[in-house]
Symmetry: C2
Subunit: 391 residues, 2 copies
């Protein structure tokens, strides 16, 4: 535990936080949890009145030869991050291959380049960041190229070449890329196996089903964080996003309810951000493709503007894309890619999505203006104005 | 005209834009406008079917001796800004005195200091930026002092000392401050005199009364921008703010309606921002004092957090203050002072004000998170969480 130690939990809040214990089974009828003390190997059984499952998510590991070799890493927690940094410090790798061009791939690409390591990124899809539209993702791909990252799209990981159990290359369906270090960023999967084995209902997403109080469908059992589903307020469907913000909010709501208070977590709108060298990228709500999947008709507009007043030093580019429902003008989502100060503008769109606003209502939003921070028409409003003209 | 020339208006849009003409009277019954050609001195009369009044606002000039002396400036348009810059370039002033510690005073203070000029700021109120609460404004006052700006609060301008018609000092009720250059930033007043003389109804604010289509109360006459009132969505009262964002939006709505389209400007929530050296300050909605004036009961909370994840390089301080209605929890306003990335967070509060959200609803807003941009709990949400605990 990082932010607070088990000792602090015990002394300040009378909470018996047992680390280095692995829960092996939950029995919802007997209301017990079986666990193994990883220090002593001793098995134990603990009774419970109420149980919170907060088992998180784990990186997806494809079942291919060499996946366990030295030099092949995933990134999911502090330990795994430290392991990669130590490998870089210790081995001075010259060439890293990142598999997957999502958050982990792109953030690691930037940081490896800054450490002077050559970087290749392999991605199965025809674009980076599949939760952005292709034209927005293209801007990030160009930024990667500009900074010397080699990008191999529409290629899939087949295996590894090893030497003395250590990775030497990544093999795709089209080439072999030399590698001293490999990081796999292929997404995560909810750690819901324990719940599933206990008969606690699991959704199609693989996450534990919960209501907006964060109760599982089995009495007395709660779940929160990356092991649990969240309700998507636009698609009206359960999703698993595995983001720290969602996990934090769910944990808070579960905790308040378990302690006898009242709180709800109505759901998410799918907001996410990433920094890629000099670009900031953010998205919220539904892409047009996602709207279609959810059975919602949609249209999109895209504008280019400046992050600050055009004459102000440091005014950078910003692209804003707005997805809305034709007819009603209801905002469905948005994407932003731009220079410094661009990304967090996604929050206006996220807030408007929670409030169910239309793009017409949004045109007149009284957003903050001063030349160092924005043009008189904030780029988000320019996009809304454009969208409103096409309802 | 700066952004588009009269010629471009004529050629591209068949609009006869006559500059250097001063309108001297409006006759709503005859439906004529009398004007003077400032180049030729010739008087003229023009008929109209529909009239838009967009006369803006002018800086307040106290009626004291020396106000017209050389070296005493106001700032309200491009010409007046150029005049100040040319005075700095030409005269190399050593000491500037700024009267008024609002946007103009604070922005000029920063820019004069960067030009190597000593700066004193005189302000009648006991704090800078009176649209911030005293504790938030104090942070800006400290930043000014840190950067060498001398601040004289609770002092009022009495007059000037002149030498050969040129300013040499500013006299307050407590001292005499040597000055080679003086900028007055005492606020502005709507240019509504022409409308008033024509019998077009003027509000208590001094601005032209308009409805949400931007129609004045006299048939066929419209008004927009700093000469017109805006409706405050929280206090439910007319206000005049004289901000470029509001003027732009009002002009757009008036233009669409005059041209036969349909658009409304429902009103403002009072959002404003300023940069003061390394601090960004922003506000929206009502301060507690303003809520009281509007007959709304209110409570406030203030939190301190970081602009980015605490461990991320460049994470700066941010203070967020939230004003809400006890009982209902309705958001009434907010103020933010902090380092880079702090200010534009006001937009989340502004959007939530437009949507009529409660602080409890806001806790679960799915805002953008990534360590370079925000802690997992955005500072705005931390403040909402705190506020919700005190409803």
């Amino acid at each position: 535990m990082v932010i607070r130690s088990p000792r602090a939990f015990r002394e300040k809040q009378n909470i018996d936080a047992r680390v280095r214990h692995r829960v092996t089974a939950i029995d919802p009828r007997k209301r017990t949890v079986r666990a193994e003390n990883l220090e002593t190997g001793k098995a134990m059984e603990e009774p419970f009145d109420l149980l919170l499952i907060a088992t998180g998510a784990s990186p997806i590991l494809p079942n291919i030869p060499g996946i366990g070799a030295r030099g092949v890493y995933t990134l999911s927690n502090l330990q795994s991050g430290i392991a990669v940094r130590e490998a870089v410090d210790r081995q001075n790798p010259r060439q890293a291959v990142l598999v997957g061009a999502g958050y982990i791939g792109l953030e690691m690409a930037e940081n490896f380049i800054r450490r002077g390591i050559r970087v290749a990124v392999v991605e199965k899809a025809p674009q980076v960041m599949s939760n952005l539209d292709p034209d927005m993702a293209m801007l990030l791909a160009e930024e990667l190229a500009k900074n010397g990252v080699e990008l191999f799209l529409e290629e899939s990981l087949q295996g590894f070449e090893l030497q003395r159990e250590e990775v030497r290359a990544v093999v795709t369906d089209r080439r072999t890329l030399p590698a001293d270090l490999v990081v796999l960023g292929l997404g995560v999967r909810p750690n819901s196996q324990l719940a599933r084995e206990a008969g606690i209902p699991i959704g199609e997403t693989g996450g534990i089903k919960v209501n907006e109080k964060m109760q599982a469908e089995t009495g007395g059992i709660w779940a929160a964080g990356n092991c649990a589903e969240a309700f998507h307020l636009l698609s009206r469907r359960p999703v698993v996003f595995a983001l720290g913000t969602v996990a934090n909010k769910q944990g808070r709501v579960a905790g308040i309810n378990i302690a006898g208070g009242r709180a709800v977590f109505p759901g998410v709108v799918g907001t996410a951000m990433v920094k890629v060298f000099d670009w900031e990228a953010a998205r919220t709500g539904l892409q047009e493709r996602e709207a279609k999947q959810a059975g919602i008709s949609s249209a999109g507009v895209k504008i280019e503007a400046r992050t600050r007043a055009g004459y102000y030093p440091g005014a950078g580019k910003i692209f804003v894309k707005i997805v809305f429902e034709p007819g009603s003008g209801r905002l469905l989502g948005g994407q932003i890619v731009g220079h410094e100060g661009a990304g967090k503008r996604i929050d206006v769109l996220a807030t408007a999505l929670h409030a169910g606003m239309t793009v017409e209502q949004m045109i007149n939003l009284d957003l903050g203006y001063s030349p160092p921070f924005s043009p008189a028409w904030d780029p988000v409003l320019i996009a809304c104005r454009q969208a409103a003209g096409q309802i």
